[in-house]
Symmetry: C2
Subunit: 245 residues, 2 copies
DNA sequence: GAGTGGTCTAGACCACCGA
DNA sequence: CGGTGGTCTAGACCACTCT
């Protein structure tokens, strides 16, 4: 068991549980809290930090949800054993690449106002054939094509231009437009690349590709985007942390 | 906004927040609470149900986490628009198939005590070459092969037999052995099937397959299993719901 | 300004675990 | 048995959104 030393600023607008969770996470990923380390019990720990037990618990829950801590009733809380990796969250490919220093680049192949195909219309909850913004983009990292991305968005986003998309990720543009994406449903599969996909992705026809379809909803529960993407399997894979309830 | 009618049993050992969450979820998936329906505000709703606001909030949070409800400060809580699907949780392929009425069957190809290869040893946090239980199984559904599964487990699980595995899923066996899996890290990719994989899966060499590697940890944070699976992409895909924090 | 969710507290009792 | 996390309460103040 270790003495935790955390820096809590009650004057900050950042919630206390978030301050605690962030610093704990940093200490775990930095190795200051080694795997297997037992945290003290919640009551004493909360008193030590000058927080209510519930606030401390909320911070711990955050990290349990990320798979960094493990709790067992009657026993205690400890740092999970095994190497720690960042779990994937709801982020855009652009952000992921930028964070990894991979210099993402986007080539806009198409940007049309077009009639929505059936699957996109169903996902967006609009009538098939309605006018939507259709995007086809190739995302490259470190100079090599990585993904071929197709997106359908409601017509109200029709002001997004090809230039916008070349400079920033779609999700960043949506955020600037005041859209907060809260929930997304994803479907991940695999198949072989078509000739056109292979040409755009710089690979061979018939190469294995990962496919992802995603419907994203904003904070009022309205579908904001339907996406159907194709990734080069030799250069990309999905990572996730799953926690049982 | 609707009048909620829930059945809360304070004598039950089931936590109140769980009772509320479960019944709310049922009403949403059953359509009794239509997409877009606004729930009343938390203070009144809690009073109406005879619960503290925090307990009600905890129930709501459960469903927000599953992507069934959406909250916005200053506005309210409502059922997410768009068709509702069950989000995927940490379940085994066997359970998923059984629930879908797909009659899962398992053929145990190999069951050995063998030396751990490097990647499995690293995932399990043991020395390479240590003795581990190695499993190779083919999972079929509705009479057709679906997945080729490789698992490596610490030697203490060496008492698991091929017969056990033919009758029940691996996770069910581990549960019976008192092991609770709490966290898993997964990696999903794609490639082409090798000749051997194609033969076992009843498909053609070079067919696209989905691959998943998973390391699972129990409630004390110890790695319990390392898995490397191959799925026929024409018969299987991964589905998930992602929620932003 | 009125109404909403977001955070926080101090205390309480319980269920489970290990010695 | 003592120690731990799991649940629950009644109240409070704040930040945000809409009109």
């Amino acid at each position: 068991m270790t003495r935790l030393s955390l820096d809590i600023d009650r004057a900050s607008p950042v919630p206390l549980y978030f301050q605690v969770a962030k610093q704990l996470e940093e200490q775990i990923t930095a190795g200051a809290l080694a795997p297997g380390t037992k945290l003290g019990n919640e009551v004493q720990l909360a008193a030590h930090l000058g927080l209510s037990r519930l606030t401390l618990r909320r911070a711990i829950e955050e990290l349990v949800g990320k798979g960094l801590l493990v709790r067992k009733r009657g026993v205690g809380t400890q740092v999970v054993l095994g190497q720690v990796k960042r779990p994937v969250e709801l982020t855009s490919l652009y952000d992921d690449l930028a964070r990894a220093g991979q210099q993402p680049a986007t080539q806009v192949v198409r940007r049309d106002l077009a009639a929505a195909p059936e699957d996109a219309a169903a996902a967006l909850g609009i009538a098939p054939g309605s006018t939507v913004l259709y995007l086809e983009r190739v995302r490259s990292a470190a100079g090599e094509p990585l993904a071929l991305m197709h997106n359908w968005l409601p017509q109200r986003f029709g002001r997004i231009t090809a230039d916008d998309l070349a400079a920033r990720g779609l999700y960043a543009l949506l955020r600037s437009a005041g859209v907060t994406i809260k929930v997304a449903r994803q479907h991940i599969g695999a198949r072989k690349a078509t000739a056109r996909e292979a040409a755009l992705l710089g690979t061979r026809r018939g190469a294995a590709v990962l496919t992802m379809q995603r419907t994203a909803y904003d904070d009022s529960g309205v579908a904001v985007e339907f996406a159907s993407h194709v990734y080069r399997a030799d250069r990309y894979s999905f990572e996730s942390t799953v926690v049982s309830h």
